[in-house]
Amino acid sequence: MGYNPDKPMEGRLTDLGPPHYEQFMPQVIKDNKGKWLWHEIVQPGVLMHKSETGDEVYTVRVGSARLVTCQFIREVCEIADKHCEGKLRFTTRNNIEFMVDAKDKVQPLLDDLASRGNRFPVGGTGAGVTNIVHTQGWIHCHTPATDASGPVKAVMDELFEYFTSMTLPAQVRIALACCLNMCGAVHASDIAILGIHRKPPMIDHKRITGVCELPLAIASCPTGAVKPAKAEVDGNEIKTVKVTVERCMFCGNCYTMCPAMPLADPDGDGIAILVGGKISNRISAPKFSKLVIPFLPNTPPRWPEVVEAVKTILEAYAKDAKKYERVGEWAERIGWESFFEKCNIPFTEKSIDDYRLAYNTWRTTTQFKFTSHVK
């Protein structure tokens, strides 16, 4: 059978949606859904949930590169078959969870995982660093200002001890997005690694006529930097656009709308570091991440500047924050001037907001600390 290109609509099935989740749940999960009473992280990467029925489920959380292959997923399936009645799940941060219904099944599972080299690191629970949520980068997207999987691998290699332990004041969520579109929650992460462009788009006048709707390209620019223009192509005058470079903030939205306006560049592009965002409503309200390092260069394959920056911030935080305090809560308590000082990050005017709601970030009080910034 299979698809018949001659009769594409015959026997076609659509709008099936996803399979019902229940068929995929391990028996102990199915039996105890809605009955869980409490949980405990029995060791880094291993959770135990206790049900009112007396049942227990042990979850072993395993780090994953997210960018994986069919053969990798097959190996995951093999592990699930061996230990978990062929069931498993993925977390919202791309970790894999293997669940067993009795304590004595945990160690064999852990041993098996450990036997597979660095493929299945156990951890990512509690007050540590869990998997970095990230995006496509150079492996698939057309707008990135940096790679995704590469910097993530480099950072996680360096922070590995924090993945397998729970020694931080609170959970630290790291995220990476390869451009300002921020596919993920980079805008609300404890530490965010963000690909940024720094050169305005070029205009490919030769191509623009065919591939762009000029009014859409013009309307796309949030600062009004894209204007109608004329150009000569092969001796003919054509309608095109121009960019007022002083108004360009390199957001790439014009390129999203018009392929004839590429802006990526080896030297222009790189990474900004933002910190102090959070999602949970625990203690303080969700917060946006804030830009503290405006630019670090793209230095494949291991982005040492980025790795160093993330680690320095993480360790300054680990040393100084109180128990339960997220990175952003810590920075607010000590004051951002102290944050810059304690993390040894030079402060630049790039960290001062000048977009739409900027006034709200200005300091309208005499309360401040005398850090080394005050001469």
Partner: protein, 426 residues
């Protein structure tokens, strides 16, 4: 397709974190186009720039979403990735799988595509990375007929909804996140597959204010569990915590010596509303003052539980920064029952009201949060026919610039200047 030299990528094969390079290389042994993926990525590492072109519009018949077109800008050099479209396959709620299902999906993908995937995409889909245009329909046929599965969303439509694991394995979930996620995904298949919106639209469901699916930051409609009665306290368990017999925060901090657990300092003093106190060794909570931040419950999962009258808060309008700056979702309905018994009636009514309005007045590529900002929150709730309540705002306005309606003002707006001048000489 031959192997390429990848000296830069090879350096990512060392280190304790799983290496996608090692993994890709292994996959390349059976799927040689993966050598071209590696080759092109290596070139990007050299050039420090992407080598993918702007995607064209590709897809399967009748769907406007689910596939993202992608082409190499070095097709001669890397013919295996000349076309390299991704397919978004809708994930099951909370991302539980059976190995049978996964294996079947992998078999399909090796047959029709590159064998490279993301588990999962940021929205929650299974992302199958890289196939040719001509493979799309055959893959889709097999996916639907053999696996009974379907594509997720992309483009200006509803994106595949996602949820935290909810009550399936979490004691705090205030409603069944999986079931509502599943039901609404089914109900809105048309909206997921056929773009009819001004821009993308996302639902995410978290069972409690910890918000493990990051709904408040990433979804146009964020449904976040909460309760409206009292936190349930097991005083005996409180004593065990105080005695140090149960680990604080479910053991989340056990890797460091933070000293003996101190109920006062670690819970009562940090409670953001200061609504807890000790009476003897009994822990008291003034629940009227509690804002259900979860902190105390997180710290003492064996002693405290969310109340029994459960439901969800509905917040609207989150999005990433493009264009007007990022937004978190805004609290619109403080408390709504989320129950299968009434087929999620209230939630569905709200969703569709939002859509009807946004489809009418939303501009091209304007997220609903931006439309809300453009018209103003007062106007938004008015068209939604929701009464204004202080829970919607952090604080009242500090500017005095109120737009009064003519009907609200005695005598209306029209006045006669001559009559005015009779009493007020110019």
């Amino acid at each position: 397709m031959a192997k390429h030299e990848t000296p830069l990528l090879d350096q990512l094969e060392t280190g304790p974190w799983p290496s996608f390079v090692t993994d890709l290389k292994k996959q390349a042994e059976t799927k040689p186009e993966v050598y071209d993926i590696l080759g092109q990525l290596e070139l990007s590492y050299e050039d420090r720039i992407t080598h993918w072109k702007h995607g064209g519009i590709v897809g399967v018949f009748g769907y406007g979403g689910g596939i993202v077109g992608r082409y190499s800008d070095m097709p001669e050099k890397f013919p295996g990735v000349q076309h390299f479209h991704t397919i978004r396959v809708a994930q099951p709620a909370s991302k539980y799988y059976s190995s049978d299902n996964l294996r079947a999906l992998m078999t399909l993908w090796e047959k029709h595509g590159s064998g490279v995937t993301n588990f999962h995409g940021s929205t929650g889909d299974i992302i199958l990375l890289g196939t040719k245009t001509e493979n799309l329909e055959p893959f889709f046929w097999d996916l639907t007929h053999e696996l009974g599965q379907d594509l997720g969303g992309s483009g200006s439509n509803l994106r595949t909804p996602a949820c935290c694991l909810g009550s399936s394995r979490c004691e705090w979930s205030c409603y069944d996140t999986q079931e509502v996620c599943y039901q609404l995904t089914l109900k809105y298949q048309d909206e997921i597959h056929r773009p009819a919106f001004p821009y993308k639209f996302k639902f995410k469901f978290s069972g409690c204010p910890n918000d493990c699916v990051a709904a408040i930051a990433r979804s146009d409609i964020s449904v976040i569990g909460t309760w409206r009665d009292e936190i349930r306290i097991d005083q005996a368990a409180v004593k065990e915590y105080v005695a140090g017999n149960y680990p604080a925060n479910g053991g989340a901090h056990s890797g460091r010596d933070w000293g003996k657990f101190d109920l006062q300092k670690e819970v009562i003093d940090i409670c953001p509303t200061q609504c807890m106190w000790l009476e003897g060794d009994e822990l008291k909570i003034d629940d009227k003052e509690c804002t259900r931040c979860m902190h105390c419950i997180n710290v003492m999962p064996r002693a405290l539980r969310p109340g029994a009258e459960q439901g969800a808060s509905i917040l609207i309008g989150a999005k990433a920064p493009i264009l007007e700056g990022a937004q978190m979702s805004t609290l619109i309905i403080p408390f709504m029952k989320i129950s299968k018994d009434d087929e999620y009636e209230d939630l569905i009514e709200l969703i569709e009201k939002v859509w009807d309005w946004w489809m009418e007045i939303g501009k091209n590529r304007e997220r609903v949060g931006e439309t809300m900002q453009r018209v103003g929150l007062p106007t938004f709730i008015k068209v939604m026919e929701i009464d204004p309540i202080p829970q919607m705002i952090k604080e009242p306005r500090s500017n005095p610039y109120v737009f009064w309606n003519e009907e609200e003002v005695p005598g209306g707006f029209a006045r006669d200047i001559d009559e005015f001048r009779a009493r007020h000489k110019a």
